[in-house]
C-alpha cells in the first residue's frame, strides 16, 4: 500500500515532466550550456595553481553539484502548484499517511534532478572529464543521490509551509545561491581565507561536490577523505528528510 501511494505520486510527476515539453527541453539543454559557458569559458582564463588538472576538470564536478542543488530544491514548487490548483486537497483527503505523500513527492523530484545530473555527467565526459571506472561511477551516483535527497527535502520542507508558487523560487534562490558559492564548486576550500573556509565546511553541498570530485579526479584532488564526505552528507540527508516529513505532517491544502 505504501509503495503504491509513493509510486502513484511519482508516476504523476513523471507524466508532468514528459508532457511539459518546454521544461523537458530546457532541462536537457541547460546542463550542456552550463558546462560550455561557465566551464570552458572560465577555464580559458583560470588555471589551477600547483596542480596537474585544468580548471575545467576541477569545476566540472561543481557544475554537476549545481545542477543537482537547483533542480532538487525547485522540485518543491510542485507542492505549491498542487495547493494553488486545489489538487492538494484531493491528495490530503485520501486515507494515506502524510509521510508517504512527502516520500512520493521527494522521489519524484529526485528522479528529475538526477536525470539532469546524469546528462551533465555525459556532457562532462564529452569534454574529457569522466570517472575512470565503474566503481568510481557508482561512487559519483551515491553522492548525486545524497545531494538530491538533502535538497529535495529542504525544498519540500519550505513548500509545506508556503503558499505562493511564484515566491517559492525567489526564496529558494536566496538560500541556494550562497550554498552553491560556498560549496567549493568554484574554488578550493583549503586555499580560501579562514572564515570562508569555515563557512564552506558548514555547507552540505561542499561534501557532495568534494565526493564527486574525489571519485572522478582521484582522491588526491579532494579536500576530505571520501568516507568523511559520505558520512557528513549522509547525516545531512537523514536530518533533512526527518525535518521535511515533520513539517509535512501539518501541511494544509
Amino acid at each position: 500500500m505504501a509503495a503504491q501511494v509513493i509510486y502513484t505520486l511519482w508516476l504523476r510527476e513523471m507524466k508532468w515532466l514528459i508532457r511539459a515539453k518546454s521544461r523537458l527541453v530546457a532541462s536537457v539543454v541547460q546542463p550542456f550550456l552550463w558546462l560550455a559557458i561557465i566551464g570552458v569559458g572560465m577555464s580559458s582564463t583560470l588555471t589551477m595553481p600547483g596542480s596537474q588538472i585544468s580548471y575545467l576538470q576541477f569545476m566540472a564536478p561543481g557544475i554537476v553539484g549545481m545542477t543537482l542543488i537547483f533542480s532538487s530544491t525547485m522540485a518543491g514548487v510542485s507542492v505549491l502548484w498542487d495547493k494553488q490548483f486545489g489538487f492538494m486537497k484531493e491528495i490530503l483527503v485520501a486515507p494515506v499517511p502524510r509521510i508517504q505523500i512527502m516520500l512520493g513527492k521527494a522521489i519524484g523530484g529526485m528522479t528529475t534532478s538526477i536525470l539532469q545530473g546524469l546528462l551533465l555527467l555525459l556532457a562532462a565526459a564529452a569534454v574529457g572529464v569522466r570517472p575512470p571506472g565503474v566503481v568510481e561511477l557508482l561512487q559519483v551516483l551515491v553522492f548525486m543521490v545524497l545531494i538530491s535527497l538533502t535538497f529535495v527535502s529542504i525544498g519540500l520542507a519550505f513548500a509545506s509551509r508556503m503558499e505562493d508558487p511564484v515566491a517559492f523560487p525567489i526564496v529558494m534562490n536566496f538560500l541556494i545561491m550562497p550554498l552553491y558559492f560556498l560549496s567549493g564548486a568554484l574554488y578550493r576550500v583549503d586555499m580560501a581565507p579562514g572564515w570562508l573556509s569555515f563557512l564552506s565546511r558548514m555547507d552540505p553541498l561542499t561534501y557532495g561536490v568534494d565526493g564527486i570530485r574525489g571519485a572522478i579526479l582521484g582522491t588526491s584532488y579532494a579536500q576530505f577523505p571520501m568516507w568523511l564526505d559520505f558520512a557528513v552528507l549522509g547525516v545531512f540527508a537523514v536530518v533533512m528528510i526527518l525535518l521535511g516529513s515533520y513539517l509535512f505532517r501539518k501541511i494544509k491544502a
Partner: protein, 332 residues
C-alpha cells in the same frame, strides 16, 4: 449511535480566532438520503463539511461519520467518504481517466478494480467518450461531473458535494442534478450537499437544514418546512413600509409581517382573499400601494422566516424583483 445513521454530530464547533464559524451543531443524517445544508455564503457550510471529512479538526464537539470518529479514526472516515470540493481540485495536465486512476491508486485499489470502476463511474456521469482528453480541455460542467465520478471511485458510503453547481449555467445545473439523483439511486450512496441555491435544495434533497451564522436554525423535509409557514405570502410594495407594517400587524388577516429589502412580507392563510382587503386597509390610512404579488411559500420564504433576510445579498433586491413580478402579473 443508530445503525441507519450515516452521520452523527454532537455540539460540533469550529472557531477561527474570535469568529465562530460553526456553532454547536447537532446533526443526524440517515443512510441513503440526500441531505442539504442550505445557507448564504459564509454561513459555515463548508467549514462543517471540512470537519466531517477530516480536513479541519473541530474546536469542540464530536462527530461520527460512517461509524468512525472524525477525531480518533480519521483514516476510517477518509476511506468511507468521497468529497467534491467547492473549488476545482482536478489535475488539469492529466486526462479524465488518469485523474480517476490516480484516485483509485491512492485508495489502494488494484489495477483490475480500478479499470472496472473507472468504466462504471464514467458511465454514471456520462463522460465515457471524453475519458482520454486532458482535463484542461473540459468544460466547467464536465469537470464537475468528473469530480463527482472521482468521489465515487472507491465505493464511498457517503459523498459530500460542496456547492456542486456553483458557477454553472442553468442548463448544466439541471444535468448535474439529474446525475446526483442517479448516483444516489444507483450507487445507494448517502449524499450531503451544501448549496445556497434554494431551488437546488428543494429539487434534490430529502431533508434540508437551514444554516445561518454557524447554527442550524431549521431542519426538515422541504415540504414540511414550507408547511410550517402555514399559508401564503403577500408582498406589498408601499411608500413608508415602516408605518404600514404596524397597521397590517393589527389586522386579523395577517399572521406575521416583516420588511425585507423595503418590501412588506405578509403571511396570510389565503392570499387571493386577503389582497383586496389589505389594499383597502392601506388606502384607508392614505397609503399608496405600488405593487402587490402573491406566492405560495417557497424554501426561500422559509429561509427568510428563520433568518430574517434573503439568502443572496448580491442578488437584485426584493423590491426590484417584486416590481417585475407584479408587472408580469398585470397588477400595475
Amino acid at each position: 449511535m443508530k445503525a441507519e445513521c450515516a452521520i452523527e454530530a454532537r455540539n460540533l464547533t469550529k472557531k477561527f480566532g474570535d469568529l465562530v464559524a460553526v456553532n454547536r451543531v447537532n446533526l443526524e443524517i440517515k443512510d441513503g438520503e440526500i441531505f442539504g445544508l442550505l445557507g448564504p455564503n459564509g454561513a459555515g457550510k463548508t467549514t462543517l463539511i471540512h470537519m466531517l471529512s477530516t480536513i479541519l479538526p473541530p474546536t469542540k464537539g464530536m462527530a461520527k461519520v460512517a461509524s468512525s470518529d472524525i477525531d480518533k479514526d480519521p483514516d476510517g472516515v477518509r476511506k468511507a467518504i468521497g468529497i467534491v470540493f467547492q473549488e476545482p481540485s482536478l489535475d488539469n495536465r492529466l486526462t479524465g481517466r488518469e485523474n480517476l486512476d490516480f484516485h483509485g491508486r491512492m485508495y489502494g485499489m488494484t489495477k483490475a478494480q480500478r479499470d472496472e470502476r473507472v468504466k462504471k463511474v464514467l458511465e454514471i456521469v456520462g463522460l465515457k467518450g471524453r475519458a482520454d482528453v486532458l482535463v484542461q480541455n473540459y468544460s466547467g460542467g464536465m469537470k464537475r461531473r468528473l469530480e463527482m465520478a472521482r468521489g465515487l471511485m472507491h465505493h464511498p458510503k457517503i459523498l459530500f458535494l460542496d456547492e456542486p453547481t456553483l458557477g454553472l449555467d442553468p442548463q448544466t445545473r439541471r444535468v448535474i442534478w439529474d446525475h446526483i439523483r442517479i448516483l444516489n439511486e444507483v450507487e445507494k450512496v448517502t449524499i450531503i450537499l451544501t448549496t445556497h441555491y434554494i431551488e437546488e435544495a428543494d429539487y434534490l434533497c430529502n431533508r434540508v437544514a437551514i444554516i445561518d451564522h454557524g447554527k442550524i436554525v431549521a431542519l426538515d423535509k422541504p415540504d414540511a418546512l414550507k408547511d410550517r409557514l402555514k399559508g401564503d405570502v403577500v408582498y406589498i410594495n408601499i411608500s413608508d413600509p415602516e408605518k404600514y407594517i404596524s397597521i397590517f400587524r393589527k389586522s386579523k388577516l395577517v399572521k406575521k409581517a416583516k420588511i425585507v429589502d423595503g418590501t412588506l412580507h405578509l403571511q396570510v392563510s389565503s392570499g387571493e382573499r386577503a389582497i383586496p382587503k389589505l389594499i383597502d386597509l392601506a388606502n384607508e390610512h392614505g397609503g399608496q400601494v405600488h405593487t402587490v404579488s402573491l406566492r405560495r411559500p417557497t424554501l426561500e420564504d422559509v429561509f427568510i422566516h428563520y433568518t430574517g433576510r434573503a439568502i443572496r445579498e448580491e442578488a437584485p433586491s426584493n423590491h426590484a424583483r417584486m416590481g417585475r413580478i407584479a408587472t408580469a402579473h398585470g397588477l400595475r
